[in-house]
């Protein structure tokens, strides 16, 4: 019964697609974005340094800046973007249903998410790991001393799984207190319900900087109990859009490597370095290969700066989050940030 019905639907869909689709230069998402004149990005509902709305409603942060870079690369000087704040429970569904074009949240790249949710990760904008925030008054030196402790955390993240794995692997126990939202988990922790609060290190830094009654009374334990690579996510059914997003990421990293900043990108256009010329579109047809125009990478860097600038501005040592580059430094400086060749 269902088989002929379904293939009939599929045939109809194909016929419609064949009639209406433009010459296959850009994928359907890119076309839709251009037509709309706006990139719609799903962001976390409020994490200082990563994506948070200020009092005037403007979103700032590392992940929102990536969305702006994509928007600038794709839409040109008329670049616009819309941010849709999503809870961990909503975020994947929003992308699956096509409500947003891209997810620029702090969602960890895992095999399951990459392979079975109908989504695909387009790169990594932050190498993170799960850790523990504890009051200094407990005098802890290691997470292994947390045997038997109550640990507050939020659902909808990989944190719950990592906690269980870590404590089981080390033969220790803990009592989870799991909340729907990070806010409530955080509030319960600061009220003393739990001895530790577990989340990604980036989030813990953000919480200590902006939510702790007195930031100096709290410490982040040294153990990183998991790898949490965070990156932009797009729907799996549009490879062209995926490629564009991925290469905007590469361009931001490549720009840092070549010393191109938002401030000097205009002078750099005159550079005679062939790699810089290809990246900034003064030579070659790199933009066209992506279904974009030659100025794609130039505009992205001009608007938000290179990767290093984005990092320093939002989460770096001079921000309240006080994060070092560590794994997020360029590969030439001992980090993991590495751009594939633009050629």
């Amino acid at each position: 019964m269902t088989f002929p019905f379904k293939s009939g639907l599929a045939a109809a869909a194909l016929a419609i697609a064949a009639t209406f689709s433009a010459p296959a230069e850009a994928g359907p998402t890119l076309d839709a974005v251009r037509k709309r004149g706006e990139v719609v990005c799903g962001v976390s509902t409020g994490i200082g340094g990563f994506s948070i709305a200020d009092s005037s409603g403007r979103w700032t942060g590392l992940t929102t800046d990536f969305c702006r870079a994509v928007s600038a690369a794709v839409l040109g000087d008329a670049a616009k973007e819309k941010f849709v704040p999503l809870s961990p429970q909503q975020r994947f569904t929003a992308l699956q249903s096509g409500e947003i074009d891209m997810l620029t949240t702090v969602a960890t790249w895992t095999l399951t998410r990459d392979a079975s949710l109908g989504l695909i990760y387009a790169g990594v904008y932050f190498y993170d790991g799960q850790g523990f925030l504890v009051p200094k008054s407990l005098g802890l030196k290691s997470a292994l001393e947390l045997d038997g402790a109550s640990i507050c955390t939020a659902t909808g993240t990989t944190s719950e799984l990592n906690l269980a794995d870590y404590f089981r692997a080390n033969g220790k126990t803990f009592k989870p207190v799991v909340f729907e939202a990070q806010n409530e988990a955080r509030a319960a922790f600061f009220s003393g319900r739990c001895q530790a609060f577990s989340a990604d290190m980036s989030y813990l830094s953000s919480v200590r900087a902006s939510d702790a009654p007195n930031p100096d009374e709290w410490q982040i334990l040294p153990e990183m109990i998991s790898k949490e690579p965070l990156g932009p996510i797009v729907a799996r059914n549009d490879l062209d859009w995926y490629t564009a997003a991925k290469w905007v990421m590469m361009a931001l990293i490549e720009a840092e490597e070549k010393g191109i900043t938002a401030a000097n990108v205009d002078q750099m256009k005159d550079s005679q370095n062939p790699e810089i010329k290809r990246l900034l579109g003064t030579a070659g047809d790199m933009g066209q290969r992506l279904g974009l125009d030659p100025g794609w990478a130039y505009r992205a860097v001009k608007r938000v700066g290179n990767y290093g600038e984005i990092f320093e501005r939002n989460v770096g040592p001079k921000t309240p989050l006080r994060m070092e580059r560590n794994s997020n430094a360029l590969w030439t400086k001992g980090g993991l940030m590495y751009a594939m060749p633009v050629r």
Binding site: T93, Q96, L163, V177, V178, N237
Partner: protein, 391 residues
């Protein structure tokens, strides 16, 4: 004559036959409904496949991998997602059933107090009802949770209320029976059964012979098996007492602040509504009934208990049933204050597996079954308390 017996309606065929028409309409509506559901389901499956989203219920047998804070059955992260849902269901059932009992008790107090002639009691009850009824339940849950976690002392400074009983931010810790719990539980059960049996027999005898039903033989029946088992196992009975550790307590039993806050919140919220339902029920009983009771020299308490409440229940039970349904469904707000109920665990599973459609379908079925069960029970009870043969 036989020609008269055949009515014109019976002779009609096709659409002019109301019987056939009714049947055909039913069949068409049913077919349309089935078609719509089939279309939606096929559409869903097609879309999920086109977007390569994994489907099916196979995940229920996979290892869950996360820890659960409170469980009434054995749980470890290596158990399956299906068992995780079962843990959540039990947690929900515990809160729902305790909530129903507590809110009914509190509701009775509120309902009767609001009709009290005492100039202090009645306005206080009215104030309580208006205050609780007109603020959102979620807000009240946050309030109770904040009260419990902010006000109570840290685990390291927890006061010892009774030997082995501690109250702290981490919850109420108390000793539990370690050995001999099984026989003791059986004894309590047997005793309770004997007590109920005696009560039933005594009431029947009282109705038949007028001999007053006495309480003490029942209590004796209740106490005997328990005392016997306690003596029998006296040597082996031992308690698992909570021991203070660096981060709180290990061992013993514990009631978490999440469960307590949820229970207090749900019970007090629903007590306000139940109080109003009872007040309406009591007011619906005719004034003459009270006057008649007074004429029989019954005290106010007696006339309330023997004359008014039984009649009020007849009016109160249907709205009471819907209040119980609300309470059972509202347990899903538990997720906001960290109690691992069915909804909370379902949410975690959705996030770990990405299979929202399947998990939501399961949750809907379970909540539906729960609601139907409460509804069926209340209908049975309603039929029992309804006045039989009265006009």
């Amino acid at each position: 004559m036989s020609a008269v017996a055949v009515s014109p309606v019976r002779a009609a065929r096709g659409w002019s036959d109301p019987g056939f028409r009714a049947l055909a309409t039913q069949v068409i509506v049913l077919a349309l409904l089935a078609g719509t559901i089939a279309f939606l389901a096929t559409n869903l499956v097609g879309n999920l496949e086109a977007r390569s989203i994994r489907t099916g219920f196979g995940f229920l047998w996979q290892a869950a991998g996360f820890e659960i804070g409170q469980s009434f059955i054995a749980w470890s992260p290596s158990a399956s997602f299906g068992r995780a849902l079962l843990v959540g269901l039990l947690n929900t059932l515990v809160v729902a059933s305790l909530g129903i009992v507590l809110s009914t008790l509190a509701g009775f107090v509120v309902g009767i107090a609001s009709l009290s002639r005492n100039p202090l009691v009645s306005p206080l009850a009215r104030l309580y009802v208006e205050l609780v009824r007109n603020t959102p339940l979620l807000l009240q849950l946050y309030l109770w949770y904040a009260v419990l976690t902010q006000m109570l002392p840290a685990a390291s400074a927890a006061p010892q209320l009774l030997p082995g009983v501690y109250l702290a931010k981490s919850g109420l810790h108390f000793p539990v029976l370690q050995h001999g719990a099984g026989p003791l539980l059986a004894a309590v059960f047997a005793g309770a059964l004997a007590f109920a049996g005696h009560g039933f027999w005594a009431r029947r005898r009282a109705e038949r012979t007028g001999m007053p039903a006495r309480l003490w033989p029942g209590l004796l029946l209740l106490a005997l098996p328990i005392a016997a088992v306690a003596l029998e196992h006296a040597a082996t009975i031992s308690f698992d007492v909570p021991r203070p550790t660096r981060f709180g307590f290990s061992g013993g039993g514990m009631i978490t602040p999440e469960l307590t806050a949820l229970l207090i919140g749900l019970s007090l919220y629903n007590a306000a509504f139940i109080g109003e339902i009872l007040r309406a029920g009591i007011l619906s009983v005719g004034r003459g009934q009270l006057e008649a009771a007074a004429a029989l020299a019954l005290s106010r308490g007696q006339s309330l208990r023997l004359v008014v409440i039984p009649q009020a229940m007849k009016v109160a039970v249907p709205p009471l049933a819907s209040q119980y349904l609300n309470l059972a469904k509202n347990t899903s707000l538990a997720i906001a204050i960290g109690y691992p109920d069915l909804m909370s665990i379902g949410n975690t599973i959705i996030n770990q597996t990405g299979q929202a459609v399947e998990v939501i379908a399961i949750l809907m079925c379970v909540y539906l079954a729960l609601s139907l069960a409460i509804s069926a029970f209340m209908n049975w009870y309603n039929a029992r308390v309804a006045l039989k043969g009265a006009s």
